[in-house]
């Protein structure tokens, strides 16, 4: 009999992560992928191991994109999506 997973339902998807600009300086040790269902959940999951990064992600005007589309922190994520986080730039 072939192995089968019964009653298992995937609730999170494997997501590729990109931390743009100076956020990359805080994310050097962060894995390239993570399991999560929304960008907000990615932030929550990173908090235990990367509090300095998450502090930056909690700044106002941080932008989030999924597959090069700007989205909200609550956007549902599909497996294989690339989620990018962009720090605010406000000077002129």
């Amino acid at each position: 009999m072939a192995n089968r997973v019964v009653g298992y339902q995937r609730t999170t998807a494997l997501i590729k992560l990109l931390f743009f600009g100076r956020l990359g300086d805080f994310a050097k040790q962060v894995p390239a992928t993570i399991q999560a269902s929304t960008p907000a959940e990615i932030r929550e999951r990173l908090n235990a191991d990367y509090p300095d990064l998450v502090k930056e992600l909690c700044q106002p005007q941080v932008l989030v994109s999924v597959n090069q589309m700007i989205v909200s922190w609550e956007q549902p994520l599909a497996a294989g999506s690339e989620v990018a986080f962009l720090p605010p730039v406000t000077g002129g």
Partner: protein, 245 residues
């Protein structure tokens, strides 16, 4: 009309291009552009637009030139310190191209200034409140709007052609209720040429809009000068946006 040898020579590198030529130069000559902010972004924007022959430029900035500006604000000289930026800029731009009509406002951007008719408004400010005020008026008046910002090694640009795309505005991307971030150029610094790159891109976008080539409404471009990487992001109108919907 190119009606003198001097004008023919001045704009010859535009006139040589099939997709600009005399008719394109005429559009630039007749254009009215407001530049809000004459700092690190506004300086290259103003210089390139004046050089390109934008006929009517309006300059808005309340500040005076300070020594700490000279690392990146390329219109000003050390002898300008203590003088209003708009006065220095107007003098330098007219020295570059005396055919232009240049108006200057030594004040913060206001609704009164923004209700005047412009073909393009260029946001070179350093705070969200000013950006959102400009966004609101441009959206209401269907005026093209080019916004940029920079910090550290990074720059950002987004532009809106409200005449052809009434929905999707700056408020859809960055909510006007957002607080200002802790970091700004005054407390964390900025690399001068990053502002130059973004300002040059703003000026290019203005020219593209005036010539009818612009098609990137609401597309956000990010530049990281430290890694040399660019990122282009699309955006969608926010349902119920109280500015554009």
């Amino acid at each position: 009309m190119i009606n003198s040898h001097e004008q023919f020579m001045r704009y010859s590198r535009h006139l040589l291009m099939d997709d600009i030529g005399e008719s394109g130069q005429q559009k630039l000559t007749e254009a009215r552009v407001l530049i809000v902010g004459l700092g690190g972004l506004g300086c290259p924007v103003a210089l390139y637009l004046a050089a390109a022959g934008i006929g009517q430029l309006t300059l808005c900035d309340a500040d005076i030139v300070e020594l700490s500006n000279l690392q990146r604000q390329i219109l000003y000289k050390e002898t300008d310190c203590g003088e209003l930026k708009v006065n220095c800029a107007k003098r330098e731009l007219l020295a570059l191209n005396p055919d232009l009509q240049i108006s200057s406002y030594a004040a913060e951007v206001s609704a009164e200034l923004l209700v005047n008719p412009y073909d393009v408004v260029v946001d070179c400010t350093d705070n969200l409140a000013a950006r959102q005020l400009i966004n609101h008026h441009c959206c209401q008046q269907k005026t093209a709007f080019v916004s940029a910002s920079a910090l550290g090694w990074e720059g950002q640009l987004v532009a809106f052609d409200f005449a052809h795309n009434p929905s999707l505005c700056l408020n859809c991307i960055i909510d006007k209720g957002s607080a200002e971030p802790l970091l700004n150029c005054s407390n964390s610094g900025v690399v001068g040429p990053v502002l130059g790159a973004m300002g040059s891109l703003q000026a290019t976008t203005v020219i593209r809009m005036l010539l009818g080539f612009f098609q990137q409404h609401g597309e956000l471009q990010r530049y990281d000068g430290k890694s040399g990487r660019w990122l282009n992001l699309r955006a969608e109108a926010k349902p119920g946006c109280d500015v554009c919907s």
